[in-house]
Every structure is written in structure tokens, then in C-alpha cells.
Symmetry: C2
Subunit: 475 residues, 2 copies
């Protein structure tokens, strides 16, 4: 007896076929739900579910107050980058000099900085922040010249706890500790949980700042095989946990830096359960979580954390104001330890800027701003991918992020992006070579490109230039 598929799946399948056959081109707007109801005669609920299903297949994306669009990620030309296969017992070797080289060029003003992972100034609501700062000087006792509570600004903590509702987190201000940015939060967590010589697990590729931080604390980093779409590979994680003494795990479950991968909900849940079983804390860096392209905020690992093993870190440095140094952590069962580490290493955070961000959250100005920046990032991402597919050599693989800032581009294996970095820089373009995202000799033919720079003819031209340079290479 054959079970018929639910109606909404049938509708979704048919729409998928139309998209795959390019009846709808990338970026095209789909009929609204109301139009589809009229057109097909199906119920509103069925169409709703069908669109939701297509979204979860990464074929379409919704933009609030606008409608549904064919995702650039539906292109049949897109080839996903290869999953990583780091050698799990490999000795650590740091690409420190390469990092210094790339980030020594951070302030060159005439360079197009695809290498940087933060929003360009045009994206920030600067006049509104300035107004909020003047208000904060009025509102705060002693205009913010006094130390705050060690745990951090009360209002900010309350608003962060409230905002967690969007990822099904149910917390109060008591569950939040503020920090000077996200990396300080990760640093306090690592210092609270580990001793030199301990082993920590990470994705691979992994943000070089995590590698450097771990190394500076004398930790051994075990990089795990990682899929560029779905994140860390669970089988590999299982295997390592069975055989190796691990002190902590560090992950970005949403729009990972640099791969752009997002762990499916089922993976998030399984990873948390696995780690809980082995009593291994998970430091989750959810700094990109609010920068989703879809219709709703994705969950994170903390969503599925029943035993308090997840320490979920984030900040507004990628979305609102890097220079304010406002970050935080939901420390779970490790609140006492993390609070002490914060106290011992920094006493407290900057009173004024933390108050301003609390205010921004409270008045809905942050959510308004996020809506704008999400749209822009999605728009940028689409155009960046298109231009790469058009101008980069055939066979170039590119990730299909559903949020965040980064594209992960995999080139022909003969291309060394650490060498290509210099060629690009001659044309005033800075890229992040793949090699800096691992302690091992991996990703030498990969690069990370930020799409945080606003889409302009100059940016388009810069990507085309990268493509032309790569095509000129005789391989």
C-alpha cells in the first residue's frame, strides 16, 4: 500500500521542479500566498506549509513585508565546497605569519577588504546610536562613570534574555553575563573550563581567532571533519568522543565563520545530547545567529540544552557597533566560574556603551535595524554568488550560506590562495586565504570572502577582477 505524500509536500515538489527547470530564475519573486491560493484552489495553510518546506530546502527565501524569492542557492550551477577531512591526530602548526600578513592590511584605505568580517559603516545606525548615548549619559547614575555590577548592566541583560525567545530560549537576566565583545566571552569560557594541555574540539575550517585564543591558553585543538552546508560531522564527533579525553567543544551552529554552514536542528539537538552524555561543555559562538536570511531566527545549540552544558556567546559587533565592545554569554551551569573569570581579568565592562545597547534592544530599534541589515546582507550574498558563478573559473565551488557574512570559495586544487592573496592585493583587493582557518595544511585552495561590503559597481568589478586573475592562471 503506497502512502500518498501530504498535499503541501506535493505542492512543494512541483514548485521545486519549476525552480530547478529555471522556470523561475534566481531572485525572481514567487506568487504571494494569497495569489497561490486563488491560482491553485488549495488552502492558505497548505500553501504556507509548502513555501516553508521550500525554504527549508534552501530553494526560496522569504523577506519580511516583501514576499518569497527564488534563492541564489537554488542554482544548478552551484557546487558545494568539499567537506573537510582534517587529520585528527595532527600536530598543531599555526599559520600565524599569514594571519599577521592579511590583517596587517586591515587599515589600508584604498583596498577592497573582502577579508574583513564585520559590517561596513554604511550599514550602522550611527545617528541613532549617538542619540542613545546622550540619553544614556542622562539616565545612568553618575553618567556611566561608575563601575557596573560585575555580572553586567541589568537592562542589557534583561533585554538579551528576552530576545532569546526568538530562538526558543527561556531565560532571565540572571542567566546572562555581559562581556567586552564576543571573543572576551569565549575567552572567559575557555579560561573557566580548561587548563593548558587540555584538548578542545572545533569545526574545520574554524575562525582563526579561536585557534589563536586556544593556542595562547596552551590548549590542543582537535579539528573535526566538517560539511560546508551542515557543519561539524556527527559521526566524526561520536568517534572522537569515544576515544579521546576532551575538555570542551567550540562551535558556531549558525552561519559559521568561515564556512557559512548552518547545522540543521536535528544536528544541533544530537550534538548537545552527545556532549551532555560525555559531560563535555559546548562553547557556542552564535554571533551570526540574528543575521539569518530566512523567515525566522534559527535555533542554536543552547535551544536544546537541558543540562546546562552549553555556554552560548554572542555580541552586537557584527550587527550594530564593533567599537562599543558589547558581548555576552549564557553560561548555563558554569555561571559561577565564568563570572569569577570576568571579575578577575577585567572587573567590569564599559558602563555607557552597554547601557546604549540595552536601550536599543528595549525600544525595538535593534530589531528594526536587524531587519534592514538582514535584507542588505541577503541582497549582497545573492549578487556576490552570481558574480562568482559568472566570472570565476569553471568548477569553482561556493558555499550557500543562509545568513551571516561569509562565502567559502573552493578553487582548483592547484591554486594556492596564500600566493593568490598577493596577486589580489596588487589589484587593491584583500581576501582571506583558506590556510589561516586551520592549524593543519588544509584549505590552501580556498578563500573566505565577506559580503559585508555594500553591493556597488566597484565591488562587482573587484569580484570580476578576482575571477579574471584566477582564470588567467594556467592550470
Amino acid at each position: 500500500m503506497r502512502t500518498e505524500k501530504p498535499l503541501f509536500i506535493q505542492v512543494a515538489d512541483r514548485l521545486e521542479q519549476q525552480i530547478k527547470s529555471e522556470l523561475y530564475a534566481i531572485g525572481d519573486k514567487l506568487p504571494s500566498i494569497r495569489e497561490m491560493v486563488t491560482e491553485t484552489g488549495y488552502s492558505m495553510s497548505t500553501i504556507n506549509k509548502a513555501y516553508y518546506e521550500l525554504e527549508s530546502r534552501s530553494l526560496i527565501t522569504s523577506r519580511p513585508q516583501s514576499g518569497y524569492y527564488v534563492s541564489p542557492l537554488s542554482s544548478p550551477n552551484i557546487i558545494n565546497p568539499t567537506p573537510s577531512r582534517p587529520i585528527i591526530s595532527e600536530e598543531n602548526s599555526e599559520p600565524e605569519d599569514l594571519i599577521d600578513l592579511v590583517y596587517g592590511n586591515m587599515t589600508h584605505e584604498n583596498v577592497t577588504l573582502f577579508s574583513l568580517g564585520f559590517p561596513s559603516n554604511e550599514l550602522l545606525p550611527i545617528p541613532k546610536l549617538n542619540k542613545a548615548m546622550v540619553q544614556a549619559m542622562r539616565d545612568l547614575p553618575n553618567s556611566g562613570t561608575s563601575y557596573e555590577e560585575i555580572q553586567g548592566n541589568y537592562n542589557l541583560r534583561k533585554e538579551i534574555a528576552r530576545a532569546a525567545f526568538s530562538w526558543d530560549g527561556h531565560f532571565t537576566e540572571q542567566d546572562v553575563i555581559t562581556t567586552n565583545g564576543c571573543i572576551s566571552a569565549v575567552s572567559y569560557c575557555l579560561m573557566s573550563l580548561t587548563k593548558p594541555g587540555d584538548t578542545v574540539l572545533t569545526e574545520s575550517p574554524v575562525y582563526f581567532g579561536i585557534l589563536q585564543l586556544a593556542k595562547s591558553l596552551g590548549l590542543h585543538v582537535l579539528e573535526l571533519p566538517t560539511n560546508m552546508t551542515t557543519g561539524i560531522e556527527i559521526d566524526a564527533l561520536k568517534k572522537v568522543l569515544k576515544t579521546t579525553k576532551v575538555k570542551a567543544c567550540i562551535l558556531m551552529s549558525n552561519f559559521s565563520n568561515p564556512s557559512g554552514s548552518m547545522m540543521p536542528e536535528s544536528h544541533k539537538k544530537e550534538v548537545v545530547q552527545l556532549l551532555a552524555f560525555y559531560h563535555i561543555p559546548l562553547i557556542e559562538d552564535d554571533i551570526h545567529g540574528d543575521l539569518y536570511f530566512g523567515s525566522h531566527r534559527p535555533t542554536n545549540c543552547k535551544t536544546f540544552d537541558e543540562s546546562g552544558i552549553v555556554l552560548c556567546c554572542s555580541s552586537v559587533s557584527k550587527s550594530l557597533s564593533p567599537g562599543y565592545r558589547v558581548g555576552w554569554v549564557f553560561p548555563g551551569a558554569f555561571k559561577k566560574e565564568v563570572l569569577r573569570t570576568k571579575l578577575y581579568h577585567s572587573v567590569s565592562a564599559t558602563t555607557l556603551t552597554h547601557q546604549v545597547v540595552g536601550d536599543f534592544l528595549k525600544n525595538g530599534r535593534y530589531e528594526n535595524h536587524l531587519r534592514k541589515i538582514r535584507k542588505i546582507l541577503y541582497h549582497n550574498c545573492t549578487h556576490y554568488i552570481h558574480t562568482i558563478l559568472t566570472h570565476f573559473p569553471e568548477g569553482t565551488k561556493v558555499s550557500q550560506p543562509q545568513g551571516g557574512f561569509f562565502l567559502w570559495v573552493e578553487l582548483d586544487s592547484k591554486i594556492n590562495t596564500a600566493v593568490f592573496y598577493h596577486e589580489a592585493l596588487k589589484h587593491h583587493i584583500s581576501i582571506a586565504p583558506g590556510r589561516i582557518f586551520s592549524f593543519q595544511n588544509q584549505f590552501t585552495n580556498c578563500m573566505r570572502l565577506s559580503f559585508g561590503l555594500p553591493w556597488t559597481p566597484e565591488i562587482q568589478h573587484a569580484i570580476q577582477t578576482l575571477g579574471t586573475l584566477l582564470c588567467q592562471k594556467k592550470i
Copy 2:
């Protein structure tokens, strides 16, 4: 053949006799230099030198634009607290619970907080800071929402380097790294220089924050015998250096927390030479250095650092604005290491508040403010000591700081200040029990009192209350 003393010494000796015989009372103004010249017929230079000599004997203090005053520290009733004699091989045992107890009461509003070591709000130039903040939002690119350079705000670094002139430091902005407050600077230095299991040397008593920080980094702390007037004892230091492998030394050479001691110049010089000989870096906490009572800014250990072994940390948290989180370090030969540690653990500091402090330094507003706060602290110190000498039990010993915030009070050996803490708190007075300033079971009959609270009848009454409570104890 008898060598006659120089004329200025003879003058100084005679004045000392007059002061000791209470011909001049504590707080009395001495004749001006001009008046003395007229009176005695000696040269301006001789009188100048004589007054300087008396200052260095702690008998008089000068106040800029005011004149010379008999120091409270000249009182024949003052007995110096006993030098410490920690057991150099002692195992570490932390007074963590006691610290939590004392600093859990930090925000009680109806408690007189002699336990706190920062300026009360009345002492801060809040409207001027607010004005400078508005200016900073105008001046900074993107109103300070962007990351700053890793090394820190250029203007702030330049002004800090310039201000070093006052302690004979000759530096440029390249020699300064800014941090989120002084303890972050010390933390970065310790993390850059040590590994868990290493041994560091400190004074004894020592600020509990240093003890906690060292412990959290897995360090072994060796507390050295310390004189409450002249700081760490050099013979003890020599002995330890000969026999023990030491990774770093941490000192406050000026107005130490908690003892108030100031190392004489000759000690500073000798300590630096000794440590340089053994290639041991010295982390110097000079946070109180600008809060001197005398006529001029004292030198610090960094002044005598020829080989770059001194990492000199400071901040404006004790003088201008704790909540701004503005600190710095002159890292000497360890610039690269400290800069990396800062980058890995926090990326950068808060752009806006660091700009404001740079501005304050540049426009001379900081120096103006310091002049006021120094006068007030000196005034407070005088009154606190008087009141203690009058109302505390006979035999009470009290330190004679020449700057900073703290009095170190030593009571009869039968009094336990950890117990007395609770009695005082019942009268809404919070003190810092001596025990929290050591990993060893020392200083149980001592306490640290901050004179950062403005002198008022209520404060006077609170000190009297402490005295009355102590006198009631049958011992």
C-alpha cells in the same frame, strides 16, 4: 676632622626639631620659601632644598599653589604598622569566601564603604566628561562605532606617553598599549609571561585582585616580607632570587594597595637592577602614581628600566572614571607578546571612552582634575589619621601614605578583623579585613580603610564608631 653637614640639612634638622616638638602642629602651614629667606637670611636655593629634604622625610607636604604644611605623618603618636613576615615556602590558601562576603556588600546604599578603593562620585568631573563624550562622537570616524587599532587609540597613547615625562619616562605612542582598565593590563602581562605552575613574586600584603588573578592562571604566588612604609624588602628579594625559579614579579612601587607604602627611589632602582640581572620581568601596577600628596610626581620602577624588563600598568579608574574602562601598559621588551594577548582575548578596547580620556589628557583637563583630587585625598588622609589616632585603642598602628587611597591599620593581635567586619557592618560600616590581602594566615588583626570618601561629619562619626567598637572589646 669633622665634616660639617650641608647648610640645607642643618636648616632641615632644625625645622624637624620644631615639628617634632609640636611647635608646628599637624596641618599647620609653614612659612613660605620667600618668608623663610627674609627670616633666616639664607638663599632661596638653601630653603628650597631644606623643604625638599623635609618632604622626603615625610614631615611636611607641599600642595601646589598653596604652600608647605606639616604632614599628619610627622605625629609622634603615629606608630608604623609592623613589616610583614610571610612564610616564603607556605602553601597557597585563598581567602575567597571572605572576599565574596566583603564585596557582596558593595552596592548596599546605606553602608559607609571604607572597604572600596575608588573615588566617590563627588570627586569626578562628570559634566566635563559628558561634554567630551559628545565631542568624541563628533570627532571619531563613524562616531566610535568601529573597531580601533589593536594597539589602541592613537591620541590616547600619545598623551599617555607624554604624561610619562612626569616620572622621567621617555616614550612615544609606540611604547603604549591601551586596555580595558588596569587589571586587564596586568592580566595580559601575566598571560603573556607565565604558564600555570610558574612562580610569581608579590608584596605582602598584596591587593587581593592580584592574588585571584594569579590563582586563576594557575600560578604559584610567593609573598615577600614587606615594610609598610618602604615596600618590599630588598634583602628578602635577593635571597629568593638566588634560590628560586621565578617567572615574574608584581609590585606597586607607589602608594601600594593595601599598605600605602612607597618604595624609595633607591629601592626602585635596586629592584629593577636585581630583576634585570636575573632576567625576570617586573609587572608594575602604578595605578596610584598620579595621586601623590607631595610636590611632585614620584618616579616608578619603569623610570629605572634600562633593559625593558618592566611592564608598567595603569589606568584612570582610580582618578577619573572607573566605568570608562580605560587602562594601559608600557610593555617594554614584551610589546609583541602583550599585543597578541590583547588581540586574542579582546580584539580591541571601547573606542569612545578611550577617545574621551585621550582628549582629557590633551586639553590639560586631566591634570587640572588631578590637582583637585590630590588635594582632597590629602585632606581626607590627614583627617582620617587624626580621627583614628584620637578614637582607636591605644597602640593602634597606622600607615602614613604619601598618596593613593588607603590606610593600613594594625590593631592588637587579639583582634580578628574578619570577625570585626560583621560588627562594623551592623553599624552600617564596611571595612576590608587584612586577611583578604594574603594567601597565608596573616594580617588577621589588620584592616584597610579607604579615604576616597569625602570628609564629612558622617564619615568622621563612622570612624569614631569603629574606634568605640574596638575600644569596647575587652582585650
